[in-house]
């Protein structure tokens, strides 16, 4: 199965083409240029170089969050636009799940991808790898403080492998809590589209592909206006 994957949830802008588990191409930029300007030119170049036409794709996979709100929407809109003309199925891949796939199975360690969520919090999840390479969720994705994450990982009682730009936020607290921690080197530790594509293959096997209309980001956080409204005792807009 041929998958075009898009990852723009964090600082990296990345696209990949995979065919049955093989990464045919992957383009990634990690600098300050906006994803809006770089993402589609990268997809265009990648598809031209590999002779790939959009109507040949079996699925368009998008890293659906959590992450930068704007980055998520650029990725989602790009994926939806590519999928719409041919009614191509989409995979709405949890960003942290894709990051776990990008570093592969880690023997006996809980893989904990982390994204800096600002305000002393991270987006976090925990996955363990089976012998077949499939990942099982052990810690559901959440927004969490360093202290709370340390407590949760202590409870899990497993050595952990950390990846992602949120590591710096939690590392001191995890070490102070005496957790057996290993950290992925920076060259492996960023969100990239190959991981999104491999996660999408797994989701396809599990029958979790959706239509382009259904694809939407998962922010894990309300907008500031909704949060304030809720704190003031009013229900969030959509529930009113």
């Amino acid at each position: 199965m041929k998958i075009l994957a898009i990852e723009s949830a964090t600082e990296s802008a990345s696209c990949a083409l995979t065919q049955d588990g093989k990464v045919v191409a992957e383009f990634t930029l990690q600098n300050k240029q906006t994803h809006s300007q770089t993402l589609l030119p990268m997809i265009d170049a990648m598809c031209a170089m590999t002779g790939t036409k959009p109507d040949e794709l079996d699925a368009v996979a998008v890293s659906r969050g959590p992450g930068s709100f704007t980055g998520l929407r650029i990725g989602a809109a790009t994926g939806k636009g590519i999928a719409l003309p041919f009614e191509t199925k989409m995979a709405s891949v949890p960003t942290l799940y894709g990051m776990a796939f990008a570093i592969g199975p880690a023997a006996d360690r809980l893989i904990v991808p982390l994204i800096d969520a600002r305000r002393q919090h991270v987006y976090a999840a925990g996955y363990s790898a089976g012998k077949d390479g499939a990942l099982t969720e052990e810690l559901a994705e959440c927004v969490i403080s360093a202290q709370d994450l340390a407590a949760r990982l202590q409870e899990a009682g497993k050595p952990v492998l950390l990846t992602g730009d949120g590591v710096k936020v939690v590392l001191p607290a995890l070490e102070a809590a005496g957790i057996d921690v290993r950290v992925c080197p920076p060259a492996l530790s960023y969100a990239r589209a190959a991981g999104v594509a491999l996660a999408a293959e797994q989701m396809a096997r599990e029958g979790k592909l959706i239509s382009s209309d259904e694809m939407a980001p998962e922010y894990l956080r309300l907008s500031q206006a909704e949060r304030k409204r809720r704190e003031a005792g009013n229900p969030a807009g959509k529930e009113a």
Binding site: L40, D44, R73, A77, T78, G81, I82, D213, A225, G237
Partner: protein
């Protein structure tokens, strides 16, 4: 010559819209998903909430626009999108979607300036309208007096120094308890009031006779309310908003007519959300009739944000061969007449 069919997308503020337009003049569909109900809870547009709604709505809206036009993407000659000015998060959804659609289908991409779109709404409404003409663009985010030299050439003659006209309507409506959106609510309430009950000041800016300022009028309304409260007097709300509206309309009409007379123009166009205001439409028409100037205003559905107007403006870009690259970005403060 073959008909040129453009699929246009607009998401610069709080409406997710798509339309199919033929040769810049005929809208085969004009689908608008408005978020007013959500933003009313917050008394105005919340950018993050607007962006989240756009990404949810955009594919169904595009699909509906194609279905209503009885077309598929294969029938389309180009994809157009508003890339500025507007809310950056909102713009980015439309821009990313339009680029990807155009890329996937191998169609050319056209980036459209939102204000040029508002002006072009009149090309759909009035098939005989051709530049040159004067245009007053008034909305919640914009107040521009523009000389339209050609379909793609614009000269800004005057602009607001502070609040946009529609913004002043929203702020006054909030102050008198009419709520959001202020424009249509004031328009309705003013019908029951005396527009000459209270004299509000009209700002003149030294050395810039065509520029506007609405913060002074807005402050005068707020002061009036405060004084009445301190004296324990009840305010006749209908008179108050009718007088406020009269002051704004008078400024808009006098500046526009000054331009028309000075440049000996025979056509005046209004556009944008505030051009739906009934008092403005009436006063401008009367002033134009008096001077023997042809007056153009779009039907209400083409006044507020929509994608048909973007498809019309895009047609003239198509004819001139102005196409955008895959690196097209949203430009929240895009200047009128600028090209990406």
């Amino acid at each position: 010559m073959k008909d040129i069919r453009i699929l246009a997308i607009e998401s610069s503020c709080d409406e997710t819209a798509a339309a199919v337009v033929v040769n810049g003049r005929e809208a085969l569909s004009n689908v608008i998903n408005s978020q007013i109900a959500v933003h009313t809870l917050y008394g105005g547009v919340v950018p993050e909430i607007a962006s989240r709604a756009h990404i949810q709505n955009i594919n169904p809206v595009i699909r509906a626009a194609l279905d209503e036009a009885h077309m598929t993407l294969e029938d389309i000659d180009a994809v157009a999108v508003t890339y500025g000015p507007g809310l950056v998060g909102s713009l980015l959804v439309g821009v990313a979607e339009a680029k990807a659609l155009a890329w996937a289908t191998g169609k050319p991409l056209i980036g459209v300036h939102h204000i040029e779109g508002h002006i072009a709404a009149n090309y759909i409404a009035s098939k005989d309208l051709k530049p040159p003409f004067a245009a007053l663009v008034v909305s919640g985010g914009h107040t521009h007096l523009v000389m339209v030299q050609d379909y793609d050439r614009f000269e800004i003659i005057g602009r607001t120094r502070d609040d946009a006209a529609g913004e002043a309507f929203d702020k006054v409506a909030r102050a008198v308890g009419l709520g959001y959106p202020g424009g249509p609510k004031i328009d309705k309430e003013a019908k029951n009031g005396n527009p000459h009950a209270i004299e509000f000041p009209i700002a003149h800016i030294d050395g810039a006779p065509y520029d506007f300022s609405f913060s002074g009028i807005k402050s005068a309304v707020l002061n009036y309310l405060n004084e009445a409260k301190m004296k324990g007097e009840t305010v006749n709300r209908a008179d108050l908003v009718a007088s406020f509206q009269q002051a704004v309309v008078t400024t808009l009409v006098s500046h526009s007519m000054q331009l028309v007379c000075e440049r000996h123009l025979d056509k005046l166009v209004i556009a944008g959300g505030v051009s739906a205001n009934s008092a403005l439409r009436k006063a401008m028409k009367e002033a134009c009739d008096e001077q023997g100037v042809a007056f153009y205003c779009p039907p209400l559905i083409l006044c507020t944000d929509n994608a048909a107007m973007i498809g019309s403006a895009a047609y003239y870009e198509y004819c001139k061969g102005h196409f955008a690259g895959w690196d097209l970005n949203a430009v929240p403060n895009l200047k009128l007449g600028e090209r990406a």
